[in-house]
Symmetry: C2
Subunit: 336 residues, 2 copies
């Protein structure tokens, strides 16, 4: 009734050895049907629950998957965590989440923690701060499989899942061009971060292809805020010839941008067309004239999880797996 009941307790109560109890609970054929039922009944009756710590210590089981993200409080990441959690639970895994808060120091501590807790595997998206991935390499020494998604790192050989960032931004620029834009700006993040680097590369590629020379960009360096969005608009639109097309990599910035444009009375999409990411349900539905890039979160989650399972089941699995999933562009339906 009170406290935790163990197989030893059951053994004593039923006057048998705990190893018999253990086998009975695991449905080993070597235990008599009668005693098996006896044990199961007693266990059920007294609410026996196996002690995972003991199992893990014995090495017979590792049932925790760690997910490390820069910030849970971000729709893209929370969606992925939600999806991964469901997949993991189906397979009997528990998900422990960790947020680096974009800090490498924190990321290192997290790595130590997951090693100490002997997790079965790690799915991670790296912090903006992070430039070296040495701490991630540590996991290999402890035979803990790692899969990187979204924000990956070039200098570590592990399975990765990425969005076709360069391509989709390139397509977005072309779409803006088709709609008449000739002065297209890109508001992005730190260029040492894979995601932002690739997107900007796609942006530049498209400009070259289209023969455009207007290529004003703003790179926000530390932690995106709404106000950064406002400042970016100030920077881009004070000049006599502001952009007529704008691609924004962050939705937090976007809020500031939209507010700033509103107060400057710059019309969307007549005076400037905007491309944003649709990781918030409201954007698609209500921002009139906004062109949205939808990232396939389900695919990212599913692929990351599958790759991790593959690595867990076979330690020598191909570490060069690099899955690229395709985003797609959603044009506004309503008032155009």
């Amino acid at each position: 009734m009170a406290g935790r009941i163990t197989i030893k307790d059951i053994a004593i109560a039923l006057n048998m050895h705990h190893s018999t109890v253990s086998r009975a609970l695991r449905n080993d054929k070597r235990v008599h049907e009668k005693t098996r039922k006896l044990v199961l009944a007693y266990a059920e009756e007294n609410g026996y629950q196996v002690n995972m710590s003991a199992l893990q210590l014995r090495g017979s089981l590792r049932n925790v998957i760690a997910v490390i993200v820069p910030n849970i409080n971000h729709n893209f990441f929370s969606n992925i965590i939600s999806l991964v959690t469901n997949l993991a639970e189906e397979r009997g895994y528990i998900v422990s989440i960790f947020q680096s808060n974009e800090s490498t120091v924190r990321e290192k501590k997290i790595i130590d923690t997951v090693i100490q807790n002997n997790v079965a595997g790690v799915i991670a998206s790296v912090a903006m701060n992070t430039t070296s991935s040495d701490h991630f390499k540590k996991l290999k020494n402890f035979h803990i499989p790692l899969v990187l998604f979204d924000r990956t790192s070039a200098d570590i050989k592990v399975p990765k899942v990425e969005v076709n960032n360069a391509e989709i931004i390139s397509n977005a620029v072309e779409l803006l061009y088709q709609k008449g834009c000739r002065k297209i700006s890109h508001i992005s993040g730190p260029q040492h971060v894979s995601v932002f680097k690739n997107r900007h590369q796609g942006y530049l590629n498209a400009l070259t292809k289209l023969g455009l020379t207007f290529n004003r960009s703003v790179f926000i360096e530390n932690g995106f805020t709404t106000n950064d969005g406002r400042l970016a608009v100030d920077e881009l639109f004070t000049l006599e010839n502001g952009p007529d097309g704008l691609i924004c990599d962050s939705n937090i910035l976007l809020i500031g941008i939209l507010l700033a444009l509103k107060s400057k009375k710059i019309n969307i999409p007549l005076e400037v067309r905007i491309v944003a990411f649709s990781d918030q349900p409201f954007i698609e539905a209500f921002s009139p004239g906004l062109i949205c890039i939808h990232q396939p979160e389900e695919l990212v989650a599913q692929s990351s999880f599958n790759l991790l399972m593959k690595s867990i089941e076979n330690e020598d699995a191909d570490t060069n797996d690099n899955i690229v999933v395709s985003a797609n562009i959603i044009e506004p339906k309503n008032n155009e």
Copy 2:
């Protein structure tokens, strides 16, 4: 280099007993300064990491806090998880998250899992499906402290953190009244769920107080969808006298509601004023004329965590702690 190094490995390498190594690592005064440094150096050199499973098995440590929510993919909950995770990490705890997906069956399985994993404590918000809280009571048998937040349960005595739902909705109704609304509707959820019940009670209280008789409500029963929002509008506005005030408990429904009103060309706020919850950054910023209720997520997270810590540190802590945090109403600044 390869695999996991244990204190026994260190002991053998340094030709001493593993208990000495153990003490050295824990800075026990009973070990010679020289050997202590020797051990620490070797441990550092070879990347020793303590095995938490062993610690947990010994009973000397429990470092995992479980957070159970209906759905991570929901700003209110992901915000709280994010906040709780930060608080927990500061105190050396790991957070494992579980989502019931609004299913009691799943919730029961989750409870078993957290018991098996011998977590230090549980912070939970109950699934919509759930009517009996027997499975939560199970935790008590295993001396695992539980704190409920937001969606609580009346028939279990544990510390709880709730938002002043009745009061804030009552205030919202009064505000609508002041602004001229006389036909106010409430779109809510299942009435066996504490949150929705309290909100509706607050709604009814205000109507009574104000002497209003128009009290048309819609209760969405299972899993809110955008389309449910559309249907609710159809139901409320087909009649010749539709509401001139609308309080909506769910932002997923809200999307459908706003879209439906738009297609019906019903103007907000001229023809109908809407009160929503501001758990998405975009709502406050861009839905013109929307009155927003802001829930103090930081306070909910902080209070829940504090109550859990209190219960962990003192098993006989007051289980009647019932913290009620106050939401506040944000009126639109712009076009009114």
